[in-house]
């Protein structure tokens, strides 16, 4: 009897989706341009699809007390985790799985009226742009090169939006309010608070460091302000159930899954050692690789941590050599990774070298030189793909800043454009901006590829592998590598009951 009920319930959920009627099946109003019944429909100066119009109508009617009936994303598995990598999956099913159904925002924020006067539409930027000492990052700051590129990506998107007329409702420009997140003792929290309460920004883009990002989103949750993250690949960043946070870069979990598949299934290696930075980025970056190795019955025999900026890695490398590892996975900054690689080769260690996406930065090749040949890095995107949109972005970026954009610039550009799109639709209300972002149904066609979000509003895209071949990085997808991932169809979007 219960099974029958469950099957019927499942069919009620799934059938509308597969017939394309999921959103229409919602008990809320179903409207389009032609049939809209709103007393004062807004005329947008750009195309807006029927689905988005219906979302806007619902959130505009909600007020402070009602929670609008919005579609919620439901994922069949978390983060496209393959069955064989499911925690405890060989042994049992968990009592409860988290992160499969999208969180709602149920507060009164939609009822806050727009301000009567603003000169600009402020967007906060939080990133590591000035060198300092940071407790969170384990000493001297080291991410300014990433943060500055991230800032440039945001600036370019803002400048383009302003050149196109700025915020269309009031004919005023967008303004990027820039803050450094490298300060002492978790000062990123202070910066978010200043952005939220003093600068009155409408949303925040940031940041890169995992600890600072966590601090920032805890503040954002309480202050109720949307945060778009474009540069933190820490898997736990999004595992916090905060409905105000969106990430548009594929995380280390996805990079680790692909590396593990490639190393163990494609190359058939068995003993892989880890060397990582002794900070949050290194610690959490390799966690999924370590877990995946164990679940694939190739446990990591040794994991060595080093201090950021360290020059001599002989102790760590000797331990790895003594453990007779067949390959080494590095998780840390490009400069450290290159120095480790060089020292490995000097010591006669010929093991293949695998690394995280940060080693794709130019500094790695500059320092590693010919040792970089054959190195394999995970990458959250494919910057080598043939895409006119990406090429156009590259040219504009180079013309504006005199250098090539990389991962952090490209993702920041995409995240800022996505945010501006949401503000143009939702208006000057943080909760409504959140709603528009959180309910976007179609992929965002960004320069980093199509951005589709999961139930926790994380980027759903799979990672790539970059192989250094003939002095250039060649990018390979899972399909290119013959490593398809067996996971159920993902990102079903159904109506809220």
């Amino acid at each position: 009897m219960y099974r029958l009920t469950a099957v019927v319930a499942l069919l009620l959920i799934v059938v509308p989706f597969y017939t394309g009627a999921a959103v229409a099946a919602d008990s809320g109003p179903t409207v389009g341009t032609a049939s809209r019944t709103s007393a004062n429909p807004e005329k947008f100066p750009f195309p807006v699809d029927e689905y988005t119009l219906s979302i806007l109508e619902r959130i505009n009617q909600a007020g402070p007390y009602k929670v609008p009936q919005l579609p919620l994303r439901i994922d069949p598995v978390y983060a496209d985790t393959p069955k064989e990598l499911d925690p405890f999956g060989r042994l049992t099913q968990p009592f409860k799985r988290h992160f499969l159904t999208q969180m709602e925002y149920t507060g009164p924020g939609r009822g806050i009226p727009e301000p009567t006067h603003v000169d600009t539409v402020k967007i906060g930027f939080l990133g590591p742009i000035e060198p300092t000492v940071s407790v969170a990052t384990g000493g001297k700051s080291h991410e300014e090169n990433l943060g500055k590129m991230m800032l440039r990506g945001c600036q370019l998107a803002i400048e383009e939006a302003n050149a196109a007329g700025g915020y269309w409702r009031r004919k005023i420009p967008f303004e990027l309010v820039v803050r450094n997140d490298n300060g002492l003792w978790g000062s990123s929290g202070d910066e978010i608070i200043r952005l939220a309460y003093k600068e009155n920004v409408w949303a925040i883009i940031g940041t890169i460091d995992g600890a600072n990002s966590h601090i920032a989103i805890r503040v954002a949750l309480k202050a109720e302000i949307p945060v778009i993250n474009t540069g933190d690949t820490d898997p736990t960043f999004i595992e916090t159930n905060i409905p105000w946070v969106i990430r548009v870069i594929a995380d280390d979990r996805r990079q680790c899954y692909l590396l593990a598949d490639y190393i163990y299934k494609k190359l058939g290696l068995n003993r892989v050692g880890i060397i990582r930075a002794s900070n949050r980025y290194g610690r959490f970056g390799v966690r999924e690789f370590r877990d995946a190795s164990r679940r694939l019955e190739r446990p990591v025999p040794i994991e060595m941590a080093y201090f950021v900026g360290q020059q001599d890695f002989s102790l760590e490398l000797q331990r790895l050599a003594d453990a007779q590892v067949e390959a080494i996975v590095h998780w840390g900054d490009a400069e450290d990774g290159a120095r480790i690689l060089n020292q490995m080769r000097e010591m006669g260690m010929k093991q293949p070298f695998f690394a995280c996406d940060r080693c794709l930065l130019d500094d790695f090749v500059k320092i590693a030189g010919q040792n970089a040949e054959g190195v394999v890095c995970a990458s959250p995107w494919n910057p080598a793909r043939n895409d006119s949109r990406l090429e156009e972005f590259r040219q504009k970026f180079k013309a504006r800043f005199g250098c090539e954009p990389e991962t952090y610039a490209a993702h920041a550009y995409d995240g800022t454009q996505l945010l501006i799109w949401a503000i143009q639709l939702a208006g000057l209300n943080r909760a409504k901006i959140r709603d528009v972002l959180a309910t976007r149904r179609d992929p965002w066609h960004g320069v980093t590829g199509d951005i589709m979000l999961t139930a926790v509003l994380d980027r759903a895209s799979d990672a790539y592998l970059a192989v250094r071949e003939n002095n250039e990085w060649k990018f390979y997808s899972r399909e290119d590598l013959g490593l398809p991932k067996e996971v159920p169809a993902r990102c079903v979007q159904v109506s809220q009951n």
């Binding site: 007390y65 983060a79 968990p94 009592f95 988290h98 978790g186 601090i215 202050a223 736990t236 916090t240």
Partner: protein, 411 residues
């Protein structure tokens, strides 16, 4: 390798199995779909007529009534006064005069957002956690301001505050700080000297009953600090995975904790993934889908006893009204209508729905405190006062509040 996981599963199963074996009811619920009871719970001697106390009288306060702001972050009851921390100011409600006194930045409040309040029982000083502004002490009508640059406060983003003897504990986003008000000494607790896997402190609670401090640390579960010995004890999610709760009742249900209270021999912990209770030997997790509590996303909790705990969720106010009989009450407001309802659940089954002419101010609940038999609730859109006329703990057959509701219904 996976054998390690296998070992962990077996150990957990054994532990949980022994807990079930000692369950008071001792057997499976008659309806297989009903949630299992934990140790100390039984429904053998109760019927649907045995009901917990339901708060049927509510009054609400907003800016129109004198609050500085409707977004309430903290509530603290102290004698005739109710202290209220908001997103833009501090308020004190005098129960005798029914008037609010308000402090904003222009009145000397060091920072607008007040996220935590505690009152020193010895001096009457009011200690304020300021969200991005450090800590303030309101004493003799004057604010003293403590922040990163003039004190040993580890961070200015302070989420919670608690007075323990002569000490004031501050839960900040980068560790905990303890200020000794007599020696003026500050002590900082981070991963360097405390078992914090992460340092993102979210709430702090002092239990005089056991003379312990309980820290809810985002990403690091719950930390217990024994005041006399200065020793720490840690409560972490045993499965160590963010995306699952492996076994029911195997420990703290998630490391993203938001509050911890220890009352009457029971430790209650809230998370953004549900709530749980620990009696020193057995754990019990509370999920919305099997209890009737409005939501798993819990901003804070407040325990009244080992049997009763109030959960501030994003979809309503949930109460473990009587742990022994697995009985819950959830309070809701009906959208734009100030009326609402209370729903009584037992073993996940709704046994009573009570219409409320006036309900809580908003369904997004952030803070609450007890005031004798009354309760004060801070929501994202106003302050609520639940009047506990005739309050009783546990459950009671044919209670007076029900007679009153029935009588009103007949009018």
């Amino acid at each position: 390798m996976w054998r390690a996981e296998f070992l962990w599963v077996m150990i957990s199963l054994l532990a949980i199995g022994s807990a079930w074996a000692e369950t008071a009811s001792g057997e499976k619920a008659p309806n297989a779909q009903l949630p299992k009871l934990a140790f100390g719970q039984s429904v053998d001697n109760v019927t649907d007529d045995d009901l917990p106390y339901v708060y049927t009288e509510w009054e609400n306060f907003t800016e129109e009534d004198g609050l500085p702001n409707d977004h309430i972050f903290a509530v603290r009851c102290a004698g005739e006064k109710v202290w209220v921390g908001t997103e833009d100011g501090l308020a004190c409600y005098d129960k005798k005069t029914r008037k609010f006194t308000v402090w904003k930045e222009k009145d000397g409040l060091p920072w607008r957002a007040v996220t935590g309040i505690d009152v020193d029982p010895k001096t009457g000083d009011v200690w304020l956690a300021l969200f991005g502004g450090g800590v303030a002490r309101l004493s003799g009508g004057r604010f003293d301001h403590f922040h990163q640059l003039n004190s040993g406060l580890v961070n200015n983003v302070v989420y919670g505050i608690a007075v323990e003897h002569d000490n004031v504990w501050c839960a900040t986003t980068a560790g905990a700080s303890r200020y000794n008000t007599t020696t003026k000494e500050w002590t900082i607790f981070t991963e360097k000297n405390a078992p914090m896997e992460e340092i993102w402190n979210y709430n702090v609670f002092y239990s005089p009953e056991v003379n312990k401090i309980f820290l809810a640390v985002w990403g690091s579960g719950c930390l217990e600090f024994d005041v006399p010995t200065e020793r720490w004890k840690v409560y972490l999610d045993p499965d160590r995975e963010m995306e699952i709760d492996l076994f029911r009742d195997d420990g703290i249900i998630h490391v993203i904790t938001t509050a911890a209270n220890y009352v009457g021999g029971a430790l209650w912990i809230s998370t953004y993934f549900g709530q749980c209770r620990y009696d020193g030997r057995y754990w019990r997790g509370f999920y919305a889908h099997e209890t009737g509590i409005p939501s798993d996303f819990t901003n804070a909790l407040r325990a009244r006893s080992a049997q009763e705990c109030w959960m501030c969720t994003d979809k309503g106010l949930g109460v473990v009204a009587d742990y022994a009989t697995d009985t819950y009450v959830s309070y809701y407001r009906n959208g734009d209508d100030p009326a609402g309802r209370a729903e009584v659940f037992r073993q996940g089954r709704k046994i009573k729905e009570v219409p409320l002419k006036t309900s809580i101010a908003h369904n997004f609940i952030i803070a609450m405190d007890f005031d004798g038999d009354d309760v004060w609730v801070g929501t994202a859109k106003g302050l609520s006062h639940g009047i506990g006329r005739g309050y009783y703990p546990g459950v009671k057959r044919h209670p007076e509040w029900l007679d009153k509701i029935n009588a009103e219904g007949k009018k």
